[in-house]
Point group: C2
Chain length 235, copies 2
């Protein structure tokens, strides 16, 4: 089974592999929020690309999360902060969600064989799931507005490193080799390693240090969100 | 002055900065060959994107280099091997050149303020040139068919590391931080570090080990090729 890492949604068509499980990654914070939501009892999530769709879902009575540039959009219930989903109000609910990068990445991969949602919060659960699936693996980093980012790459490297130790998995992809090496540099102090990264600083300015530390702490939410039709459900 | 690294020509429009000097990088082997050519007395190089244009230049009497997928195209004088340009026949000549990735990268950046050609062969000359220019710097890696590659990233990291030690240069770009960290890992043994990289293996299959070792040995050709109109000339 082959492992590849695609650093941005823009590049996805070059990596599309009809046999691969695509792991969509937006560590700060969409896929961390989604993982947290399922761990806290959300029933279904509908990832949507545009604010217009979000407004439509809202007018149809859905609970709707909408974030752009790190902030909750006015008039919406929730944004991108995982802490917003640690709440009994979300239990059993179906939530529509649109974010700056994460839901665009899910949209880019919509023709994939299977899409799952990865974050440090469900790191080991993702590894176990992929070992069980026995398929090619394509990590799709959400990045920041189609530019490479470090935190998503580090998560791809974390999973790729663990998979590459299992028989049957291999990689000839330079972006995977780079992701693994960067993760090895960073893994003993993810928060410290990312101190200079662009998006961490963007969020720090928004006073989101608590979110950052939470999103970089592995294995707090051992669930694997899986795309089924237009819904994400607990896999 | 800001430093950014763009990993693929596809992403160039997201990074375009009208004030930046763009350093085009295709270590294996287009920009190494171009650097070697100028060091060996070539007068001008015309980078062209398509084989059709190459045929047209040939029929007009030009010396033409044409490479695709690592091999010289049939009917052309030269390909991508730097050793082809260490030859008295090229001295004083104008050569048209088309390659799989490198000349596409030059084409992608054609709206830039200034384009220069970088490779390990002219590493320190590039650093000195950029310090002298006092402009923003954008590294444009040719990659492999619009996918990230390690060797171009390592060269970007090598120059970025040196520039970041000079006052006035800074970076908030995750791809630059990653390139610098990867270069720090690799710099004491570039050939060894790249042993598993995808393009190195592609070339090794074509029996091009000698080219690889040459292209990864810094500072053999202290010249800076610069784009002027449709020509590359010695800067």
């Amino acid at each position: 089974m082959n492992i590849e890492v695609c650093y941005t949604p823009q590049a996805y068509p070059l990596f599309h592999n009809p046999n691969a499980v695509v792991v969509v990654i937006d560590v700060l914070r969409a896929t961390s929020a989604i993982t947290t939501a399922f761990y806290n009892g959300v029933l279904k999530i509908i990832p949507i690309a545009t604010v217009e769709e979000a407004l439509e879902y809202k007018s149809n009575g859905y609970m709707v999360a909408a974030e752009r540039n790190g902030e909750v959009l006015e008039g919406f219930d929730l944004g991108n902060s995982p802490f917003g989903y640690m709440n009994s109000k979300v239990k059993g609910k179906t939530i529509a969600i649109t974010t700056t990068n994460g839901t665009q990445a899910i949209d880019a991969a919509k023709s994939a064989h299977k899409i799952i949602i990865g974050s440090f919060l469900n790191l080991d659960a993702i590894v176990d799931y992929l070992i069980e699936e026995k398929k090619d693996v394509l990590f799709l980093c959400a990045g920041w507005k189609n530019k490479f980012n470090l935190e998503d790459t580090l998560f791809a490297g974390a999973v790729a490193e663990k998979l590459s130790l299992k028989s049957g998995f291999e990689t000839q992809c330079d972006s995977t080799l780079a992701a693994i090496d960067l993760y090895k540099l960073a893994k003993h102090d993810l928060v410290g390693y990312l101190a200079n990264s662009s998006h961490r600083n963007r969020l720090a300015k928004l006073d989101l240090e608590r979110d950052i530390k939470y999103c970089l702490t592995p294995n707090q939410c051992p669930v694997v969100p899986v795309m089924e039709g237009k819904f994400l459900v607990k896999g």
